[in-house]
Symmetry: C2
């Protein structure tokens, strides 16, 4: 399982959505051998996990792990409990307060698993596709959060204690608009037809109505191009 010493390695959080797939392409372009990590956390978007498997295979990651964790036990979010996912909201409505689709401590949990894997394969780089523009209501999508996480992580690990390496958390999309993310991905050769970003897919297809679908569709529309993914309804 230990990484090849001749190439630098990175753990990439891969949901199967547009953002994380772009980040995976970005990490590869930066010269990293990539270890993709996806979570099965009792969310509504099982089809997204299937998308992650297809993407990991087609983008030739070194290894892909789908880790099962049970966030349903704690409740508290529309993505893990029986609360309804909001549909058809305007951009203004999306930006009001902390959304019900926020999963408590999700990024903190995901990064912690990434940290464990990074420690085992002796990688010092973790990539994730958080974004502070479209997800301004999510506390754990802000740069100051990532900075604090990085500091904590360097105190948590063997390598950090020995002063041998400093772990770096890369969030290359954090200040990009959705259209800029798509532009970046297209330059990197990402096939967005493979990605699935929806909070509440219908028969495996993106619903076209939830906040996540609307943001994505607007991103493509802003670029004047068509989203190649299939939708249940738009």
């Amino acid at each position: 399982m230990k990484a090849n010493a001749t190439q630098k390695t990175a753990v990439v959080l891969l949901s199967g959505g547009l953002d994380s797939t772009t980040v995976l392409a970005f990490a590869k372009r930066e010269g990293f051998e990539t270890y993709a990590l996806t979570f099965n956390y009792g969310q509504r978007h099982q089809p997204e996990i299937e998308a992650a498997r297809r993407i990991a295979a087609s983008m030739q990651v070194k290894e892909h792990i789908v880790a099962s964790i049970d966030l349903r036990a704690f409740g508290g979010s529309a993505l893990t409990s029986d609360i309804s996912v909001p549909k058809g909201r305007s951009a203004e409505e999306m930006n009001e307060g902390i959304p019900i689709t926020y999963v408590p401590a999700r990024n903190t949990i995901f990064l912690s698993f990434a940290l464990a894997w990074a420690e085992v394969i002796e990688s010092q780089d973790i990539f994730l596709g958080i974004n502070a523009v479209d997800y301004s209501g999510y506390p754990d999508c802000r740069p100051e959060y990532i900075e604090a996480y990085e500091k904590m992580a360097n105190l948590a690990t063997k390598a950090g204690v020995k002063g041998e390496q400093q772990l770096k958390i890369h969030s290359p999309l954090v200040s990009l608009k959705k259209s800029e993310i798509i532009q970046l991905g297209l330059e990197l050769g990402v096939d967005y037809a493979r990605t699935l970003t929806c909070y509440d897919p219908v028969d495996g297809l993106a619903c076209g109505q939830c906040d996540s679908c609307k943001l994505r569709l607007k991103g493509f529309s802003d670029l004047g191009i068509e989203d190649p993914a299939a939708y249940a309804t738009i």
Copy 2:
């Protein structure tokens, strides 16, 4: 699931071992309504989970969750993979470097789940039984790690963002010797016969030979009292 507003609440990490059981008793004495969180993480000590269930029931926690997470996928530790647990080591040998029983990022992962639960029940207190004296080789058992975690957690959560509350991570055992922990627990009325601390139990009984058993036995011996727990061999 939301906590009773009249009593302050805390999430307590409960492994079923001596340290975390003492912490649970401590949190109750401090006046907290307790929510106990145990992990099933593919470790060798399944009997410890059973101990945690008995302890949670007998100590009347408000709620007990056993969360399943798969750390085996990442390997890297004697506690989650096929590496042998060391037996019969001296105190000096135990203090040499980072032990093979160290699980990568374990406390970081455990605290992240505790943070998620705390956010859902609107608790601002998390208790855990880390100890920097006996486990000096574990990077994530040090006070500076806990401090950095607390800072990160307050940036990660809704309440932290709103400035409504500050999350506090309590580690009351961090600078106590094992004998002092046992002394504290006895004062708090802990029944140590119920606890199981072993890294590698034999037929559900503590092995008496691993680092964890040896530290525990020495703690009781230093106090001049007998450990009430059952051992396979001493």
